[in-house]
Amino acid sequence: MTEKVTKTSPALILLAWAIVGIPWLWGFSQTLQKAAALFQ
């Protein structure tokens, strides 16, 4: 008897990446704005 294989849903992968990616992008954009002062 073989075990039933349930593939991870792509939506779950996307959600997991969004949970860590959104705060990261926010922090990155904040740093980028700060860094822009060097070129002004």
Partner: protein, 452 residues
Amino acid sequence: MPSFFDRSSQIAKPGFSRWLVPPAALAIHLCIGQAYAFSVFKLPMTKLIGVTASAPDDWKQSELGWIFSIAIVFLGLSAAVFGRWVESGGPRRAMFVAACCFGGGFLVAALGVQLHNIWIVYLGYGVLGGIGLGIGYISPVSTLIKWFPDRPGMATGMAIMGFGGGAMIASPLSLMLMKFYATPQSVGVTQTFVTMGAIYFLVMMFGVFLVRLPADGWKPDGFVPRAVAGTMITVGNVSVDQAFKTRQFWQLWLVLCMNVTAGIGILETASPMIQEMFPGHVTAAAAGGFVGLLSIFNMAGRFVWSSTSDYIGRRNTYMIFFTLGILLYASIPSIGHMGSVPLFVAVCVILLSMYGGGFATIPAYLKDVFGTMHVGAIHGRLLTAWSVAGVLGPVLVNYIRDYQLAQGVAKPDAYNVTMYLMAVLLMVGFVSNWFMKPVDTRHLYQGEPLKA
């Protein structure tokens, strides 16, 4: 019935996507990377009593500087001491303990701030938080290497890039929270610590629930492991205790220590250095922008260099770091004399990308040399090099600069000796890496792989 934290409960079921593991690792590293942004609390914590200005009983900057130093020392110590425990229990248990220590460290530190007792803050953020940092830092590394045997550099680079990115979130978040909680009677540090401790605990728990270990013998589709050893890649495994006795471990320890010490040379003094080397050309705001730019390259270098190392090899990657690093550090005094700010910035961002790259490439280098069996535990012991560099780098930079100024050297030239010294340190790392050889087969573990 196995408990949630048993190793057997952490094994992924067939069909589980390995692409869920990097977000789990990032959930940990993005949180603990907050340590790099701790300096945003330094000024407010010198005004806990006076609020608008420092009162006589307020803490001094020199007392507060120890909080970060203690945390980094305990990071290295805990990674070294608990490495085997992390390997044997699997990533879930380790991540949970890391979440409790790191989140709890904030809460204890908040109590210390509320009672205005610096020793409680040292114990909370420094000791407890530092242990959370150390266990959290190594907890996903060997798991990622097992899930991505085809691209171990890229996989660990992704997680360790998160550590660099953590400061980018923590810095503005801390400032926003302190502003939100500030009242005429308080600078809002206590409440900010409590809030951040709770947030970090919850985000790290997301990683705890998400992480899985691959089943024994699992391989990605189409992946064929090397049948014979490459120039540096072993086909066997070396146990953590045996690795500690090899020349290769100490060579890699030196490689990491020199690379980190040199990088800290720039990180530690970035803002005053650019202002003093180019007087009248760089404002304080622009210097802050320079620090931000360095953070971005420090973070990006972790992913780019470690991914590149999957194609060009780890030893070659470090040869680039050291060769290019020596040339660039040695060129900084001349660039200062030329007065070229853009060239100085370009050199510094490349150096910082290699600083980050050094951190991110080392786990895959360890995997190549010692195999995957105890790579997390070996990585933990190697991180003591970071603790040493964390103390050595700033001490060297600050002491030499102050000595130069005391000798009457002009401020723009006060960093020249430091930069040449950093180039010398990189030469030591170059030699250590140059003589890197595969481990002798007598060190290889014979028998069934041990969990740790």
